[in-house]
């Protein structure tokens, strides 16, 4: 009988003996997890798979790349055994590149830079290589603190960013970087991350732990429409909030949000109108969920527990809307970013 498995790629901070990007094999039935390879890389605090899962893109979240005062993005080809072959990289025209995303067609890679507050669009060659930047978009000149946290394509034609400089979700046109619209979060929270599911955009604050739900009206009105604001933790929660990542299940039924101090992932059910209802909060078996990712078949979640130097695997129970810890944690120094493949067969 054929064995099913997932492959996950774990980006790490280059501390505590980290070897770079770790390739992980997860048995789809037993959830037994093992490290199958480590590829030398520097501060890979953001990783993303392309749609074909043949290429992995990783940020170089440092202050220098190729001798320039920049971060960068590197491309890797995924070999049959899960090992990574580096295909080179490009500077990203800003330091501490913190987030990377690939568009649906695999033709563009987007990266954003925590320092300088720039975001960058790179064309992708057919062999997966990242080509020199075609677009570098600067923050508003008047912004005092020029910083960006998250970038991702919004549909085919737009790119969204979470701007710390403007404390806003800002939408640009993907082709030429023209600014289309923005939503400034009230009361100056610390915005962190956003996720798209269908016609809805979910923007999460790191502190306080609010999620803003928007309807994407870009095509119709050139804008986004606020539908809801809901906290990651329950209203009665009195602990500390410092959220990290927000991801939707591939079928769009659930939205998952991690909070680091409470070592938890909250599961929201998405209603038909895109709004959220909190269903459950899962306690993680480790410390500091900096990132997590959902497999393409929506079955498992792999979380990077940065402070306890390990990753854990959870299964999504679609009946009850809860996450269930599965298998044993695997030790990896300072894991900071996760990308999980679809289910594969040996």
């Amino acid at each position: 009988m054929k064995k099913s498995y997932y492959q996950a790629y774990i980006g790490t901070n280059s501390v505590r003996g980290s070897q770079g990007i770790y390739s992980i094999h997860i048995d789809a039935d037993s959830f037994e997890t093992e490290i199958i390879a480590a590829t030398q890389a520097y501060n890979t605090g953001g990783v993303a798979l392309d749609r074909t899962e043949r290429f992995l893109y990783a940020v170089n979240e440092g202050m220098t790349f190729d001798g320039y005062a920049d971060g960068g993005v590197s491309a890797y080809r995924i070999e049959r055994n899960g090992e990574l072959t580096k295909l080179g990289g490009q500077r990203s025209f800003g330091q501490r590149t913190c987030c990377v995303a690939v568009d649906e067609a695999g033709e563009n890679v987007y990266a954003c830079n925590f320092y300088h507050g720039t975001w960058t669009a790179f064309p992708v060659a057919k062999n997966g290589k990242v080509l020199p930047a075609r677009l570098v978009v600067e923050p508003p000149r008047e912004a005092v603190w020029k910083a960006l946290h998250c970038v991702a394509p919004v549909g085919r034609d737009y790119v969204g960013v979470i701007s710390l400089a403007e404390c806003a979700l800002v939408i640009y046109r993907a082709g030429d970087g023209k600014r289309i619209t923005s939503f400034e979060f009230p009361d100056k929270p610390f915005p962190r991350y956003f996720e798209i599911s269908g016609k809805y955009i979910y923007a999460m604050m790191q502190m306080p732990d609010d999620i803003y739900v928007f309807e994407d009206r870009l095509e119709e009105e050139g804008s986004v429409r606020l539908l809801q604001k809901i906290s990651v933790m329950e209203e009665s929660f009195r602990g500390m909030a410092a959220t990290s990542t927000l991801r939707a299940t591939p079928d769009g039924r659930f939205l998952l949000a991690a909070n680091r101090p409470s070592n938890s992932i909250t599961v929201f059910e998405r209603r038909k109108d895109g709004t959220l209802a909190r269903r459950s909060i899962a306690a993680l078996s480790g410390d500091g969920p900096r990132d997590f990712h959902i497999s393409r078949d929506g079955k498992i979640v792999v979380a990077a527990l940065q402070h306890s130097d390990e990753i854990c695997v959870l299964e999504i129970d679609y009946e009850s809307g809860v996450l269930v810890n599965r298998g044993k944690n695997v030790s990896i120094p300072s894991p900071a970013a996760v990308a999980v493949s679809g289910r594969m067969e040996a």
Binding site: S14, V15, G17, S18, Q19, Y42, N43, N60, G62, M63, T64, D66, G67, Y68, A69, D70, G94, Q95, R96, Y115, H116
Partner: protein, 237 residues
Amino acid sequence: MTIEERLFRLEERMRQSEARAAIADLMSRYAFYCGAGCGERILTELWTKSDEASLEYGASGVYTEHWKVETFYQKEPVPGKLTTLSFSTPLLQVSPDGESARGIWMAFSTETDAGDLGTAVPDISDARRALLSSETAEGKCYRAEILLQKYDVNFVVEDGVWKILHLHVSEYFRCPYDRDWVRYAKERLLTDGMWLESLFASSKPLPPQSHGENLPSGPSTEHWQYGTDRVPDTLPG
């Protein structure tokens, strides 16, 4: 010109001259303290106490606040490790009021870590072994590098004594002593990030406000390093 005017000009020149001598002396002490591993003395004797202090090294970004500057100098002595600095004659400008100054030095420096040849052999799992850029025929790794740096320093007078307020070190090149900076230009890129982080890795616990991280306070202001495809940047203003 009246006697008073001549006296005033003479005093002015003397003030300038004394300031230049004091600053040159300060930087000589900086170099000696570096070589002697006296980072704490650099902090207490040569740096301002002000939280306006800032330090930038290569593409590190700017580290402001005093505790961040301190991390650059707080290093436990390790047998077989050595940093030396040899400064050129400076380009020095003292403000007319004699309260601040800026100086630019070129420096030929060395960085040494005996690595596997020493008595404090780094752990095999320590990623910073990548900084050991030379290797013996037996495969033992160590570091014996030469560096060309530019020191761009702002000074202020504090309690009547000249102190460092901002320090910006540009690292034009670094390479192992047994190779040259042209052949090593590409290889150094692999460890540039690690090298910068190691410079700001303190041997003391970070203060609570650091949240366990010692990140720069802001991006780089200016950076240039040698590359086989690069021309030098313009002179500093």
